[in-house]
Amino acid sequence: MSDVRNPLPTGTAVPRNPMPTSGTAEIGVSVPNVSVRGPEVPRTIEALDPVFTVSGLSVFYGDYEAVRGVDMTIGNREITAMIGPSGCGKSTVLRCFNRMNDLIPGARAAGKILYHDEDLYGDHVDPIEVRRRIGMVFQKPNPFPKSIYDNIAYGPKVNGVKGKMDDIVEEALTKAALWDEVKDKIKQNALSLSGGQQQRLCIARAIAVKPDVILMDEPCSALDPIATTKIEDLMQELTRDYTIVIVTHNMQQAARVSDRTAFFTAEVDADGVRHGRLVEFDETSRIFTNPSDKRTEDYITGRFG
């Protein structure tokens, strides 16, 4: 299905969780995965095996165009970081990827986002199905006011997952590096956990529904350096199975964890209205060592923003 677009010579990475096209889910296609990371891959700005292909994306809140004309790709099993000054539209773009913006009255996206081959905003696409495949971790940990166990089990339950819930819960918590800390108090209220534990619980909760992509909006902004390191390690770990998009204000974090970085900023147009724009999108090493745009350089060196 992705062979047409994919310039890789041998084999193509097939999404583990493709959107069902015209009713028939194409699960079970087993083509060997090819990692796009590694030194032998020639430098390209665009991801070679994109999960998302964004073209000409503009997002409106009512009449206000918050973000204008974004083009970027999110590579499969990569970590893509979105950086930029406050208010430049990072969260706005991120929330388009799982159609969370639909929930804001008056919010509207123009342009195109392809998820694998499917138009994410196509008429027949069910946003519920989209969110099931594209999970999200929020800036502020938001565990449900229930037990740790119920927090994890909730996603699989509402999605009608059959199977041993205990195993699902343990697996998700283990993947989120939280199992050892909470295995003895699994029935305790999740709100009794520390902030960092709560955030890892939210990650575990997102993993439990076995999504294809995990979107993270400043997941470490409320955490101390140790919890942050844990979550960063976790992200590295997760890229074996998941594609991650992360919004962060922490330059070092973007540099440490991400494969590609998108730098956004707010620009004032001819009418004096501020719009978020994507300034530069490239491999992270390139963005941080040799950015091609002056504004990117100023921002990452702390001279602007």
């Binding site: 969370m100 969110r131 099931r132 565990p143 997102a206």
Partner: protein
């Protein structure tokens, strides 16, 4: 050593005494509370003292009687009140809670008709209960031909408490942080799943408290029943939703209207029973609130 750059004399943590205004404010607060509690205590002491001679089992075992006030009871009134409250709870609570869910979770607040509905519900909550009595008489008793039955009474009182139930349930639902809804929806839950499995459980304490307070209001009402023409000296218990009935406040009203001293005592005893039912319901509300209390 330039660490302590602030001269010692500049550090003044000693109390300079709180300004008078703060003391006055505290006193005003305590005084208001004291007045409220004092009046409540006085009321309770007064009715218990007054009704003491009649606070025995004959009170709830016997039926009212004009000729023998010294042994007359209020059984028909107690059971009538319980019937009305039970039926009202069955009708008004689900309707009110569902309406609140619609208004909070589904209604597009930018649409004029939804804003109109909201405005009207707030206004309805302020309509005097006697007006509901007129409505019940004209619409339910006469036009729908339900007559002066338990059903008519319960429907009328349901209309009376519905706005209060809706408003308090909306407040409870609104108090659930949006981040909980977002978290649920981001996992691929549908809107209904999110409401049913996250929002409602989290707002149970608030909804329950509001509902019980609304029902408590209904218990104390006499005016709409007076309007509906519920008989005051019903000597038999309601046997179903279609039987005639009376309620405690109405019985109390009719006892007090009589000249004999025994009826005044009987009225006081009946008020104690009414207060007991009210306090019982309020303690259920408090228990529910503590039981399901949520921290965010």
């Amino acid at each position: 050593m330039a660490i302590l750059s602030t001269p010692r004399s500049a550090v003044q943590l000693a109390s300079k005494g709180r300004p008078l205004r703060e003391h006055l404010f505290r006193i005003a607060l305590l005084a208001s509370l004291a007045i409220a509690i004092a009046f409540l205590a006085m009321l309770i002491v007064y009715v218990v003292e007054e009704g003491w001679p009649r606070l025995d089992s004959t009170l709830w075992e016997n039926q009212p009687s004009i000729r023998r006030p010294e042994t007359a009871g209020i059984q028909s009134g107690i059971l009538g009140t319980l019937w009305i409250i039970g039926l009202t709870a069955l009708m008004a609570l689900p309707t009110g809670i569902l309406a609140a869910i619609y208004l909070e979770e589904y209604a597009d607040k930018t649409k004029w008709y939804n804003r109109l509905i909201e405005l009207n519900i707030s206004n309805l909550a302020a309509v005097p209960s006697i007006v509901y009595g007129i409505l019940g008489l004209g619409m339910i008793a006469r036009w729908m031909q339900f007559g002066f039955t338990v059903m008519t009474g319960a429907l009328t009182v349901s209309l009376l408490v519905l706005p209060i139930v809706i408003i308090s349930a909306r407040e409870a639902i609104r108090a659930v942080p949006p981040s909980i809804r977002e978290g649920s929806l981001a996992l691929g839950a549908t809107q209904w799943q999110t409401i049913y499995r996250q929002v409602l459980p989290a707002s149970v304490p608030g909804i329950a408290t509001g509902s019980i307070l609304a029902l408590s209001r209904a218990i104390g009402e006499a005016a709409p029943f007076l309007m509906l023409g519920a008989a005051t000296l019903v000597r038999f218990n309601p046997e179903g939703v279609w039987s005639t009935f009376t309620v405690l406040p109405l019985q109390i009203y009719s006892f007090i209207a009589r000249p004999q001293e025994e009826f005044a005592i009987l009225a006081a005893a009946a008020i104690v029973i009414l207060l007991a039912i009210l306090l019982l319901m309020n303690s259920v509300a408090i228990w529910l609130r503590n039981r399901y209390q949520k921290r965010w």
